[in-house]
């Protein structure tokens, strides 16, 4: 079957099988920032944005994504121009082995986009990261990084989302 979707802003059309999940489809095409984890939606390593909402790609069949807009971690920023959330994670050394980091960044992006500005509470930061398991057990710094990112995105002097798009 053919799966057509808008991936990181570009239209793609890929062959898939009915049993293939979105995680595998993405990784087969080189988008390996989306990680394999628990495969049951519990760990958050495979998070992507589907029509702007955070979803576990391990529980979305590739066929279900047909006709939708998918954003992976590769679509957020680049080596040259990281997204402010990625910068916040780096600046705050909120990365250990890095396996869970793409999912956390995606979760923060979804939450902050939906919130649309304004201060972020620590409780909100904890809630948005609650579905993201870090095997290095590094939870404190990602919370601080998300709070820092929210602050940066609320600051007009930071690199703007519109400019990036």
């Amino acid at each position: 079957m053919n799966v057509e979707l808008t991936l990181n802003g570009e239209a793609v059309s890929w062959e898939s099988e009915p049993h293939e999940f979105l995680t595998e489809l993405l990784r087969r095409h080189g988008l390996i920032g989306t990680k394999r984890g628990c495969e049951s939606g519990d760990c958050g390593a495979c998070a992507v944005l589907l029509d702007g909402e955070e979803v576990p790609s391990c529980l979305v069949l590739a066929a279900q994504a047909h006709g939708h807009e998918v954003t992976t971690i590769e679509g957020l920023g680049s080596w040259e121009r990281p997204h402010p959330i990625q910068e916040a994670f780096v600046d705050g050394t909120a990365v250990q082995c890095g396996y869970c980091t793409p999912g956390m960044v995606i979760a923060a992006k979804a939450y902050l986009d939906r919130k649309g500005g304004g201060p972020l509470s620590e409780r909100e930061a904890r809630e948005l990261l609650a579905g993201h398991v870090c095997r290095c057990t590094g939870y404190v710094k990602p919370i601080a990084a998300v709070l820092r990112a929210a602050e940066a995105l609320g600051d007009p002097r930071s690199a703007g989302e519109e400019e990036r798009a």
Binding site: E17, H19, G41, V55, A107, A130
Partner: protein, 286 residues
């Protein structure tokens, strides 16, 4: 993965969806959000019928007396955030939806999916039953087309849903207050026990869902409801102890290899007292 799917369909109407399942050559099932897809018992499914194109995402108020219609594809995230689900009456729905796993799964998991998973996951079904919700179930008619039946949200017996497609839920509106309390082994487990309570004037409905109970499913705690209703607006000082005992006496025998039956009864009674306290305004709604 663990699926042996060889066919995926995305019908545009309820009739087409029901026919695809009824006429499938191998084992077929509906899929909404798909959050239970990798959770077991799905290895044998050969044909998935994806409901995403069906017009079942609506949230609206209708009728006189007013009722809230929730399409079965409404996600748990929407249940938590939608302005029509604000207020004290529907707090149990918001709390039950917000207790499920994590935000990513709440973005995918649907009302219909949670109701159909009611044998193992009691949160949202318990809240709907406490609110006196009715389910809209579409079935193929002899000949052609579909008929939509309105059935009461089920307790242990869920045969009313067999062979049908849940298209929506209707919740009677009005004055009232509700609360939902749950306990699970972890944030991602289905609850070991949960209790929803709702008060509309003098009428109470209290619903418990206990994992591994026999028979499985939800049960209304009618003696507890009568006891609380008899107190009116002035519960006695020792109401918590009386409610706990009434709840324990009413819960069924059940056994589990992980946790004792006594523990589960105590746990459920504690949750019932907390839910009642929230409705009685002695605890805050979540």
């Amino acid at each position: 993965m663990y699926l042996s799917l060889d066919r995926y369909s995305r019908p545009a109407t309820a009739e087409e969806a029901l026919r695809l399942v009824a006429e499938s050559e191998g084992p077929a099932a509906f899929i909404a959000g798909g959050t239970d897809l990798n959770a077991g018992d799905h290895e044998a499914i050969a044909h998935l019928v994806d409901l995403q194109a069906l017009p079942m995402k609506e949230v609206r108020v209708f009728g006189e007396p007013a009722a809230l219609h929730l399409g079965s594809l409404v996600t748990l995230s929407t249940l938590r955030r939608h302005p029509l689900l604000g207020g004290e009456l529907l707090a149990a729905v918001r709390e039950a939806a917000g207790g499920y796993a994590n935000l990513a799964l709440q973005n995918r998991s649907t009302l219909g999916g949670r109701v159909m998973a009611a044998r193992v996951d009691h949160d949202l079904p318990a809240a709907l039953l406490a609110l006196g919700a009715r389910l809209h179930v579409a079935r193929l008619r002899d000949g052609f087309g579909v008929a939509v039946e309105r059935v009461a949200a089920p307790e242990a017996d869920r045969t009313a849903l067999d062979g049908g497609l849940l298209v929506g839920v209707e919740v009677p509106l009005g004055e009232g207050r509700s609360a939902h309390r749950r306990f699970g082994r972890s944030a991602v487990d289905v609850p070991l026990a949960c209790v929803s309570a709702c008060r509309r004037g003098d009428r109470w409905r209290v619903v418990a869902g206990v994992q591994a109970a026999a028979p499985p499913g939800l049960r209304r705690l009618r003696r507890l409801e009568e006891l609380v209703a008899a107190w009116g607006s002035a519960p006695p000082p020792d109401w918590r102890e009386a409610a706990r005992e009434a709840c324990r006496a009413e819960l069924p025998e059940h056994a589990c290899r992980w946790i004792s039956a006594d523990y589960r009864r105590d746990l459920t009674a504690t949750l019932a007292v907390r839910a009642l306290a929230a409705v009685l305004e002695e605890e805050e709604l979540a």
